[in-house]
Point group: D2
Chain length 396, copies 4
């Protein structure tokens, strides 16, 4: 990413950045040293002495072995006293460090995303409740259908966000550590620990050290990666749908909705571009491809570590993490400041009045007005609000 090619990227801050990735890999190595020290295997190792290594220095060596862990370990070792250096990375394989570091980066991204999801839920609950009486023309296949309310529209957006939120929360709670050694047998760790049960305890201790979930080696089973992709793209789908509705509602001929701070143009002073929605929609258009890349990589796994499929995951996960965080924040801002023109909604719906009631007429019922043909709109708003309240209560 970068702000130039992906406007709004600043919102993702340091997430999945080079610096964050080096820090996460270093953190895994330090965590492992701590585990070894605490188990009495490396009593003289000093896990807190690991220096900060410059990403560019790591990068310079990444191609030779095909991953950044190899140069990172070398650079760390060079800068550590022998008492620590000799235990660094001992028993691990590159994939242990890289996968666990990706999981740490993912966790940070999810925390930010979930904070913004909570902002979205709060804003949406406000919209759904406030506009439950705001009649609007329901639209299907671009055409006026039957009356609805903007409160129900917002409640439906909210339901979509809550569906996505459920998956994100579940994902957040189940991010696994990776510890398997060279080919997933933990052979070296077993040697070090003096037995396989002890080796298992070391692996679990690393999970605990890093705040990740204990896990059996998943070098060839990439569900932790694809599940992250699935949850993030599902969230982007939900936000994309909101953006699409705002974009339609912002068209000057419809003018029911407007962004809090519309964007300008390089040449046309009057332009009020729905920029946040444009950028959210962009992210939603792109996300299915990054997620599919993760699945294609998972499906191409072979041997105890695959010959390219593993490597194809890293940028795709980074893309989803950063664009997900960016779109989450943009959607929260969009919703928090969304401008709703209920008068325009009503005038359009009333102008379309008889059209919106043809279903009712065809069924032989005779609602006096479009306000009398809103069915369960109000209950559905209540239902979504109840879900939102439960989510907000459960959320940390």
């Amino acid at each position: 990413m970068s702000e130039l090619f992906w406007p709004g990227d600043w919102r993702a801050g340091a997430l999945f950045g080079d610096r964050a990735f080096v820090a996460a890999m270093t953190r895994v190595e330090a965590g492992w040293l701590r585990v070894l020290r605490d188990a009495g295997l490396a009593p003289d190792a000093d896990p807190d002495s690991l220096p900060e290594v410059d990403g560019d220095d790591v990068a310079a060596g990444a191609e030779a072995g095909g991953n950044p862990v190899i140069p990172l370990v070398r650079l760390l070792r060079e800068r550590l006293p022998e008492s620590t250096a000799s235990w660094l990375h001992r028993g691990l394989t590159s994939q242990d460090v890289l996968d666990s570091a990706l999981m740490l980066c993912l966790r940070d991204a999810l925390d930010q995303v979930l904070a913004d999801v909570r902002r979205q839920v709060a804003a949406l609950a406000g919209l759904a409740d406030r506009y439950r009486g705001a009649v609007q023309a329901g639209r299907t296949l671009t055409q006026h259908a039957v009356p609805t309310t903007f409160g129900l529209t917002a409640a439906s957006w909210l339901a979509g966000v809550l569906d996505a939120a459920g998956d994100l929360v579940a994902l957040r709670a189940a991010i696994p550590v990776q510890v398997g050694g060279a080919a997933g047998t933990l052979s070296a760790v077993t040697e070090m620990a003096g037995g396989s049960a002890a080796a298992g305890r070391l692996a679990d201790a690393l999970a605990s050290e890093l705040g990740l979930q204990p896990a059996r080696p998943w070098h060839g089973n990439r569900r932790p990666i694809t599940r992250a992709g699935d949850a993030l793209v599902a969230a982007l789908d939900a936000w994309g749908r909101i953006a699409n509705d705002v974009l339609v509602g912002s068209r000057p001929e419809i003018a029911e909705l407007a962004e809090p701070v519309p964007g300008g143009s390089s040449t046309m002073p009057h332009k009020q571009n729905p920029v946040l929605s444009v950028l959210i929609r962009r992210a939603a258009l792109a996300a299915p491809f990054a997620t599919a890349q993760l699945h294609a990589a998972a499906a191409a796994a072979v041997d105890e570590r695959p010959d390219g499929a593993w490597h194809a995951e890293w940028t795709a996960l980074r893309t989803l993490g950063r664009t997900g965080a960016t779109a989450a924040a943009q959607t929260a801002d969009l919703l928090a400041g969304l401008r709703v023109d209920t008068a325009r909604m009503r005038s359009t719906a009333e102008a379309a009045g008889e059209s919106l009631l043809t279903e009712a007429r065809a069924m032989g019922t005779n609602p006096a007005a479009i306000d009398d043909y809103l069915g369960r709109a109000d209950e559905l708003v209540d239902d979504a609000l109840a879900r939102a309240a439960a989510f907000m209560e459960a959320a940390p």
Copy 2:
């Protein structure tokens, strides 16, 4: 699909076929009639009188309205007495019927897939247990790494299948009905039922009638569709990985594995092609694209029913349902009859002996033989077997 363009397609039988789809749509209409009759609204309607309509007749009218429900309803009405015809489809919209019917087709596909997953789990548990002592060269990035066992290889395949199975079981338990009416407000149903609470009860009754889960309208929130795609592609990822390993293991220079009944060639009598693996791998290569299509459609949702995105889901879900069922069965057959050459595994591993022990040597440990450097392989097999047993016990 078809057997010609997708060899093995016969294994998916009637799943998501035209006939099954028409039957499912008809079943939704009949279920709704039953709900209306049982609620006393349509006392003279006869839900059991709905005729079987020919798919080709429905098809002939599908383009005009953009979906097959419109012609189906018309054809059914023509063939029913007025007492039933006048209540048919009353209060529903095309999307209610089509989405619910897709969910019924999905359920049938999942039932078949899960039956084959159980066969896979049984076969894999057998392989993992039986070959826990069969030493094999662990391979990473195509090269020999450290020793492993074929039991652990099978246990790792098993863990992948169990991960996927968990998602499939969860998906199976949460397939929702769709009842929202023209724009998701249930307005017409509310009129019919005489109130919104009663309308909600009718919607829930349809869920119960069809064996689906009650749900609020999800016309614009497509997570039930994308979740199906995510779970199916994840299963195909897991099977694809197994196929990849069998393909490598079947190469004549490696010759550790062989298919139960290798395929022949049109010109070379000696060929022993690993055909099942080839076809499973094919399905795994293709699946990420169908799933991504579902997400792209979900992200393009707009209004109360989208202008093309909804329509783009149907074939993608069918593809995943049929190719998933086909690959599930092929994988079960592959695993049930997999031929394992443990002597060849051992001779390759022993020939590579010192290479496989360089890690150990570098660490200063001195395993006497590759068999002594297997780490937690045995415990990891036990772990996977325990998961398998729990799954088999929980399975219906």
Copy 3:
């Protein structure tokens, strides 16, 4: 496909159907027999005696060898006298027959697509010329920008179609035969022909016999397949853009455009759904995934025939062929009957008058009216018309 899951599929007729595929494979086998007979190698073979084999019979045997050619050859041989049977398929491999048959199916699909592209070009040229004076609000990022004309809008659609048409015509002219034998060496053919130069002549003769282009074996180089995907998806992109514009223009609040015969609803008598545009848009949403599947397959090629990647191409190419043909026809119909409300266009543009002229004002120019700020619209229409005329003249 099928009409139920892909409304409008009837427009693709027999293209890439099971029957057409069996016929194409049979045609390749017959063509090869003819080549062998004409070369004096198989003087008693009767290429015209090949029976029509039922697709279901072929299908029943397709899984065993992983492709339909093996059972087809067996079924044909069983039904032919020895003098012909013994020469059938001699020297070829399954991939020769299947790839060449796919190319024949592709050719038929392209011919139909190009016929509809010509209809599109004619309709678009008519629209561009007729409406060159119809002022319309230009829209960017959903907002009014500067004035344009509907003639230029149509000319821009036309330019997109002509770009796509160029690729389709080039593709149509370069569809290659596949003749390589078991591993691309033509060894068996060389034996039969008595030398490698003679073998090359036989391969070229098959191309000529089938009306395909001569080619070196491309078993592992899948550019002929991916190029077909690229050209078809590019055409679908162009049609999708037209559909998107019609969908926006058909919204009741905009109402500048309408479909020739809008679709109805299952419950709302008044609905005027832009069904063709919906279905075209659907196809354009889906096509990138089928094309990407072709590229993923090409990128996974390995050995002299890949272990699954080849097999993953067939349905993807069929999908593009059929959905391309369907969308081509739908777009041609849409354009031929498109209803244009120039009065509404003008009134919207005039109502937005000062907005549409802010650029001009900001630049210090003072067009008296929006009609005076149309820049090169007219010349751009002329330019597109000239391209269209050249295309129509060059077209067969």
Copy 4:
């Protein structure tokens, strides 16, 4: 990208980097000033005075308007004397500058890619010629089929590269400028130029100034973008296939091929990982998704500038440009130093001797040895060499 998430990324150097992108946008603005000055419209403007603007400064303002051109223009104007500032960007729209700048970045990427393609062609021609007598087991569906030569294998790789090269050369020759103004009418330019013919001349002059091809506005017709994607992914497909073959050939049980400088491991001193092939394969696995994103964006175009689809193109094109350049260089290096073990090839083929001749036996011919059953292998090598020579001669 970055070296950490995409090892080898350094090979793409500055291509499509933030700095390069800002420079390209600035170059477009300067080019346009030059055009205006040379036409006598802005006699006092100084096109050579445009300062270098820092990417981070541009980035900070990119979200507000949804693209980086708006802040760039503002920053440039602030730093220029009025005589130049007042003409800067005059008549253009953001999309003109951004699209043209992307085309400049694409051109630079293609130049680098094509230079490496020439290295590949030279290396491949060398391999094909040198190893035309090196017998090798032909493999289909992972199994031994009939004999081939490594010369023909290399010739087939070469044919794939030449196919891709043809598209890249054609693409390189047809990279268009974008000049359309706010909504593709060139209205402002027409005002400035004093007429539409003069406006057209200015647009063409910008093409000439930038070394791009003259073009009608393509704001909504994204074929120039998708065509770049198609050509780059096709090249990556061809390189991916080579990598796949090298990966299989590098397996220790096959050991026919080895990389020039195999990569090491973080723990296993003996490992000889085929790292370049792994990284090339990774790029080929990923590329179809980026290309499909471009097509999805093209298909989502609407209005005179789309509401998100345009924005979704930028990172995808950058990804293809950078990963394409990286993989091109890696493939060139891989091929230039590829180690070929002809003795191992022969011994494997001879060991499989009778298997490799079953086709011949079945046909009743009796080659004395596998060397006598190579069909047209030699001629096919010659054919590829001739194509290579023609390409090298035509190349600049």
